[in-house]
Point group: C2
Chain length 382, copies 2
C-alpha cells in the first residue's frame, strides 16, 4: 500500500478559466486549491478547496501559497511585486513575474516586442490629448487607438478617437496611455501556444477571431483560407514570443491580419484564452489540460485538431435569466452541441458561457454554434 502524492496547483482567481482548468485537471489527478474573491465565483462552485480572499493582498497570497506546489492564474491582475515576493518565498509562479508583466502592461509589452523584432502596430506612449494629435500627425492621422497600459480587458480600457477633443477620457485614470495606429485589418487571428519550463512548446492551429463590440463573438479553427505560409508565420511568431519572454503555460497572441497580408500583434494573454476554448472539443489536448501540464513541467499533449472545423461561439447574458430552460431546445436540435456554462449570474453582455460545434461543413458548423449561442442568449427564439 502507498499514498499517492499528486501535486497541488494553486489557482489565483475564481473565473471561468479557473473553472475549466480545474475540470481539465481532474482526469490527471491534480489537486486544485483556489483563491477566489467570493464563494460564488465561477470556479469556487466546482472546486473542493477554496480560499476566499483578495489577490491584491500579499499576506493573503502568502498564506494561500502554503501547500501549493505551483501558483498559476485565472487573470493577470496580481501585482508584479507580489509575484516576486512569492518567488522569493520559494513558491514556483508560472508564468513568472518577468514574463507576466508583458501581459499586464501594454507599454512594457510593446517595448519588448519591438526589441525582439515582432511586428506591432505603430505606437508610442502619449502624454496628453495634444500629444495624441502629434502621434496622429506622425502617421496617417486620426482615428487613433488609445489604451491605458494596465487594467483593460474585453474592450475596456480601449478607445478609438477621431480627434483631439475625444482624447481626454483615457488620461483620467492616471495610468500611462499608449497610442496605436488604427490598423486597417482584414480580420483578427489568434496564435495559441503552450510552453513548459523545460522549454518544450506546442502550437495550436491558428484561428480566426470575430469580435462584436470589442468582445470575442466567434472563433473558427483553423482560420478559413489562411495560407500555409501565414499560418506558419503566426505560429512561429507566437513561439518566439513565448520563448523570448520566458512564458510558462498558455500564451495567446492576438493578431491583426492586414489587407496587404502582414501580421501585427494586437494583444498578449498568458493564461488559457477565449480564442482557445474550441480546443476543449476540437483538439486532442485542450488548452486547459496543456496549461496544467506546462505549469507542472509535464510533457505537453498533442495540440492537433480532431475535426476539420471547430467553431466556438460565446454565450453572452441577455434579457432572459433562465438559460437552463433553453437547454431543452438546444440539445434536442443539435445532439452534437457542446455547451460550456460558467455558473455565472446573467447580466446583459456578460460572458456566461460558450458553445463548441465541429464537423466537416464549415457553414453548418458555424450555423449550429451561432444558433445555440443566440438561443441561449435569447436573441434567437426558434
Amino acid at each position: 500500500m502507498g499514498h499517492v502524492t499528486f501535486p497541488v496547483v494553486g489557482m489565483v482567481g475564481g473565473g471561468q478559466l479557473a473553472r475549466m482548468t480545474h475540470e481539465a485537471g481532474i482526469p490527471l489527478g491534480i489537486r486544485f486549491k483556489l483563491l477566489s474573491d467570493t464563494p460564488q465565483d465561477s470556479a469556487a462552485q466546482v472546486v473542493s478547496e477554496v480560499v476566499v480572499g483578495d489577490h491584491r493582498d500579499l499576506e493573503t497570497l502568502r498564506a494561500f501559497a502554503q501547500g501549493c506546489d505551483v501558483i498559476t492564474f485565472d487573470h493577470e491582475h496580481v501585482p508584479t511585486g507580489h509575484l516576486r515576493a512569492l518567488e522569493a518565498d520559494g513558491i514556483p509562479v508560472r508564468p513568472g513575474p518577468d514574463a507576466l508583466v508583458h501581459a499586464q502592461d501594454k507599454g512594457v509589452m510593446r517595448a519588448r516586442l519591438g526589441e525582439i523584432g515582432v511586428p506591432c502596430p505603430r505606437h508610442r506612449i502619449v502624454a496628453d490629448p495634444a500629444d495624441v494629435t502629434r502621434f496622429a500627425e506622425e502617421g496617417d492621422g486620426f482615428p487613433v487607438v488609445l489604451k491605458t497600459v494596465r487594467g483593460g480587458y474585453d474592450g475596456k480600457g480601449v478607445w478609438v478617437v477621431s480627434g483631439e477633443a475625444e482624447a481626454a477620457e483615457p488620461f483620467k485614470a492616471g495610468v500611462p496611455v499608449l497610442a496605436e495606429e488604427k490598423v486597417d485589418f482584414a480580420r483578427e487571428l489568434a496564435a495559441n501556444v503552450v510552453r513548459s519550463p523545460h522549454g518544450q512548446a506546442v502550437a495550436y492551429p491558428v484561428v480566426e477571431s470575430i469580435q462584436v463590440g470589442g468582445v470575442c463573438d466567434t472563433v473558427i479553427a483553423p482560420a478559413p483560407g489562411l495560407s500555409g505560409a501565414l499560418s506558419a508565420q503566426a505560429q512561429e511568431l507566437a513561439l518566439t514570443v513565448a520563448k523570448e519572454l520566458g512564458v510558462v503555460g498558455h500564451l495567446a497572441v492576438e493578431l491583426f491580419e492586414t489587407r496587404d497580408g502582414r501580421l501585427l500583434v494586437n494583444e498578449l494573454a498568458m493564461r488559457p484564452h477565449n480564442s482557445g476554448h474550441w480546443t476543449q472539443d476540437g483538439a486532442v489536448t485542450s488548452q486547459f489540460a496543456n496549461h496544467v501540464r506546462a505549469v507542472l513541467d509535464l510533457p505537453l499533449g498533442d495540440p492537433r485538431p480532431r475535426a476539420t472545423w471547430t467553431v466556438m461561439a460565446n454565450v453572452l447574458g441577455g434579457d432572459y435569466p433562465d438559460m437552463y430552460a433553453a437547454y431543452l431546445h438546444c440539445m434536442a436540435r443539435d445532439p452534437q452541441l457542446k455547451i460550456h456554462m460558467y455558473g455565472k449570474d446573467v447580466k446583459p453582455g456578460r460572458k456566461v458561457g460558450h458553445v463548441n460545434t465541429y464537423g466537416d461543413d464549415l457553414a453548418d458548423v458555424r450555423e449550429r454554434a451561432a444558433h445555440a449561442a443566440g438561443y441561449l442568449r435569447g436573441t434567437i427564439t426558434e
Copy 2:
C-alpha cells in the same frame, strides 16, 4: 440582471464514477452535491459541496436529499426501501428503486429478464451444496458459477466451482445463492445505453471487454469483427432491458458472445460503467455527460464514436505508489494519451485510474493503452 437557477444533482457515493460524472457536469453548469463515506473519497476531492455520511442510513439520505433536484448514484448499494422513502418524500430518484433492484439483486434480475424474453445463461436459485450438484446434473454438469444475489462486484461474490465440495463458501454469507451455467463464451461484450424519463434512449457502439482475474482490463470500441447483425441485436437487447425495467440514466449490459454466435446477458449495471469509460475521449458525448442529461430529463447527446478505434485500459495499483512520477515517461512517449486518475491511494489490484487511446490502427491503439497502463502500474519499466 437575473440569477441563473441551475439544478442540483445529488450524487450518492464518492467513488470514481461520481468524480467523473461531476467532471462531465461542470460544462453544463450543473451543481453537484455529494454524499461521501469520507472526505478523502475520489469524488470528494474535486466536488465543492460534500456531505460525509453513511448511505445506508435513511435519515442521512433524507437530510442529504434536501435541496437536491434529483438523486443519482455512484454505486448500487443504497437499500431499495430507502429509495422508496426518498421518492415518498417527493425527491426524484434516478434510476428509481423499481429499476435499480434489478442491478442490486441478481435473482430479481434473472427472473425479470426471463419474463421479457432476454436470453440469459441457464440459472436458478440454489438452496445448498447438494442443490448445486442437482443444478449441475440438470445441465452439462460442473463447473457451475455461484453468485450471491446481492453485494458482489468486480469478481467478488462470484465463485466457479468444480464440484459439491467447493460449493459451501457462497452460502456462508446467509444471502440467497444463484447458480448459473459456466458459459463457454468466445468473448465478453458490453452494450451501453442511456435512457431518459421521457423515454428517449441512445445506444453506444457495442464494445469488447477483456477481463483479467475477474476484473476488467481492456475495452475495445467498437468490438473488433462483430457482425452488424450481432451488434444491432446487442444494442436492441440493451434498449429493451432499459425500457422494460424502466431504467433512467446509464445502463451497462455485460454480455457473453457464445462460440455459436448467441448473446447471453451476464450482468447489469445502472450507472456509468467501466465498459463505457472509452466514451470520455472516444465518443461525441461521454457516458457521464449522458447520464447527467438523462437524470435531469434533458435531451441526450450523440453517442457516436469520434475515432475509428478507441481503447481503454484500466490502471490497477501495483507495487510502486508514486504513479505521478510515471506521467513523465507516459506523456512524453505518447502525446495523444488520455490519462484518467481517480485520486485513490494505491493498493495492489485496486482500480486507481484508466487510460484512453484512439486512432485508425487498432494494433497501435491497443499497444499504446497497454503500455501506459502497465507503465503506470509498474509492470512495464521502459
